[in-house]
């Protein structure tokens, strides 16, 4: 091992953490150029090569880049938008809202988006992300600054993306996908309204205010980018004499041509994901405006923030007493920059970056804030969600989709799913206790709780 491994966990989480995490976080610690620690966050579970919930920073001169350290769904991430509606106003309309959004935001196997673009536009779209959307009336003026990296990551180059990735992705903008992806109508939980002063900085002023959370990524475009480079990195490793303990740890020097090509393609996919979530938000705004007979501006449907949780980015960090540029891989981990950082929007700079942690569709989610301690300890990173504890097959054995849908309705959560099998696989019992994950990171000082959000309407991909 080049560096030690560091695992954030309570005793309860550690006792239940699958052994694969320990092995994988150790494997990552053996990769060339890794600095300080190989991290596993409190939600860590087994992944391909790197654990999900893993963070690793590499020296940009001597270190590697790994498609498996980013994940197949490049820039899978979370987006949170607020409304000025109280739950009492929304409660009678939840079914109407969910049904309408379900019709506007395609979800499930092989779906196409309602927003079509030409293949010739893909270079601009994937270079400029939400900035491109703002220039084409597909985003509000203040949307880009409330997206990580200001709406797009610099360094995209569409010529490094395969034709297959482009043809897969071009018709998928504005689609939710499937697996663990969802779109949720949520309410600020009055019993877990942890920091009202901080919440106010993010535009949350009521303890039963209605929010919308979106969890999805770069769809087939990002998956194809990862597939293409994972395959090609294997042969490249032989040339560079790099040996890894798992084929999914395939990596190459960041400074090599292949490493740089992957980075440029991966950035395209990350920007694709920002645009995908933006187009979904546009549909959500349309739906709320239609149901409440007020335009989305009047409903104050501003973006609180959009965070990546599968990405590799070049960032400057201080460690060992000096400032250094590193390539931070966050795979199932969220950036958690503390107050004062220049990459945080001016409106949030005094308080820190919003951190959005998505839970299972039954247990709710959290809005947290980044901290100075995260900058010191984890390259400004924290957990991303609750993490699975049960396989999809096992979950389906435990509960049927229709039965789960009925029980959730009894508990005040109206769910619409692309498939009943997919719904059963995402049951809350298949996931770790998100509150334990969030508490662990809060106690470690890596991210601090602001509010908890409970689901009242859910669209499951």
């Amino acid at each position: 091992m080049h560096v030690p491994a560091r695992i954030y966990a309570s005793k309860k989480l550690l006792d239940n953490m699958d052994s694969g995490v320990i092995e994988q976080v150790t494997n990552v610690a053996c990769l060339p150029g890794i600095v300080r620690y190989s991290y596993a966050m409190a939600d860590a579970h087994w992944g391909y090569g790197f654990p999900i919930g893993g963070v690793a920073a590499f020296d940009t001169e001597k270190g590697i880049i790994s498609p498996g350290g980013v994940g197949f769904d490049v820039n899978c991430g979370m987006r949170l938008i607020r409304t000025n509606l109280r739950f009492s106003e929304v409660k009678p309309k939840v079914k109407e809202l969910v049904d309408l959004i379900f019709s506007l935001v395609p979800a499930g196997v092989g779906v196409k988006g309602s927003q079509s673009f030409a293949q010739s536009q893909m270079g601009d779209i994937t270079s400029l992300g939400v900035r491109w959307c703002a220039e084409h009336d597909l985003a509000w003026d203040d949307d880009p600054e409330h997206v990580e990296e200001g709406g797009y990551i610099r360094g995209a180059d569409i010529s490094k993306v395969s034709r297959q990735a482009i043809t897969r992705g071009v018709s998928q903008f504005g689609t939710l996908g499937s697996g663990n992806h969802y779109l949720e109508i949520q309410v600020v939980d009055p019993d877990r309204y942890f920091d009202p002063a901080l919440a106010k900085e993010f535009g949350i002023v009521h303890d039963d205010q209605v929010m919308v959370m979106i969890h999805c990524g770069s769809r087939g475009f990002g998956h194809q980018v990862c597939t293409d480079y994972l395959r090609n990195f294997e042969s490249g490793m032989r040339r560079f004499g790099i040996e890894v303990r798992d084929r999914d740890l395939a990596c190459l020097p960041f400074n090599s041509k292949e490493g740089k090509d992957y980075y440029s393609a991966m950035v395209c996919a990350a920007n694709f994901a920002f645009v995908n979530r933006q187009i979904i938000v546009n549909k959500v705004r349309d739906a709320f405006a239609k149901v409440f007979h007020r335009d989305a501006e009047a409903l104050d449907m501003h973006l609180i923030y959009d965070v990546c949780h599968n990405v590799a980015k070049v960032e400057k960090h201080r460690y060992d007493g000096s400032s250094m540029e590193v390539l931070v891989h966050r795979k199932g981990a969220t950036r958690s920059f503390g107050p004062g950082h220049q990459d945080i929007p001016a409106s949030y700079r005094d308080v820190g970056q919003p951190v959005i942690i998505g839970g299972s569709m039954e247990t709710g989610s959290y809005l947290l804030v980044g901290t100075a301690k995260a900058m010191e300890d984890t390259f400004g990173s924290t957990a991303h969600g609750s993490g699975r504890t049960m396989s999809r097959t096992a979950a389906k054995r435990e509960v049927r989709g229709a039965e789960l849908q009925r029980k959730m309705l009894e508990r005040g959560i109206y769910v619409k799913a692309a498939t009943m099998d997919g719904l059963a696989e995402e049951a809350g019992m298949a996931y770790k206790d998100i509150s334990e994950v969030v508490e662990t990171m809060d106690r470690a000082g890596i991210s601090k709780k602001v509010v908890a959000l409970r689901p009242v309407g859910n669209i499951k991909g």
């Binding site: 579970h45 391909y48 043809t167 087939g220 395959r231 999914d248 097959t393 498939t419």
Partner: protein, 140 residues
């Protein structure tokens, strides 16, 4: 054995094991497994045909590329396949495939999980005696 799901291999995704007495059969079985993950095959009809050829460095990568091609066709053309006829070259470095299925119909097809990618985890073709085996973990 056509294919068998491995529920404990990938918590968040889906893994299966496939076996056949020939590379052709192994590829066809892997195709059928991918179909089974995405849709109840009993609800699918073989009314639309697609054919393609592939070349790769070795049998491992040929299988990886074959499964990836099925995922690409699903995303680009919204087609799912019920019948697979694959001919792998004796060297194991190229193939021709004729596959039959139909466009996704959300009313008639019982859809399941969307398969998004083939991972390299545990992946590889093993040839023992007259049996070809593989383990595949798919990203869901």
């Amino acid at each position: 054995m056509p294919f068998r799901f491995l529920p404990d291999v990938a918590l968040a995704d889906i893994a299966f094991e496939a076996e056949s007495d020939s590379p052709d059969g192994l590829f066809e079985t892997c195709g059928a497994a991918i179909t089974d993950i995405m849709v109840d095959p009993k609800t699918l009809r073989p009314t639309t045909e697609r054919s393609f050829s592939l070349e790769s460095e070795d049998l491992d990568r040929l299988l990886y590329d074959f499964m990836t091609e099925l995922i690409v066709i699903k995303d680009v053309e919204s087609l799912l396949f019920k019948e697979y006829e694959v001919k792998v070259s004796p060297q194991g470095t190229s193939l021709t495939a004729v596959i039959k299925g139909e466009a996704i119909d959300r009313e008639r097809h019982r859809l399941r999980n969307d398969v998004k990618a083939v991972t390299m985890h545990l992946f590889g073709v093993k040839h023992e005696g007259r049996r070809w085996r593989t383990t595949v973990v798919l990203d869901i």
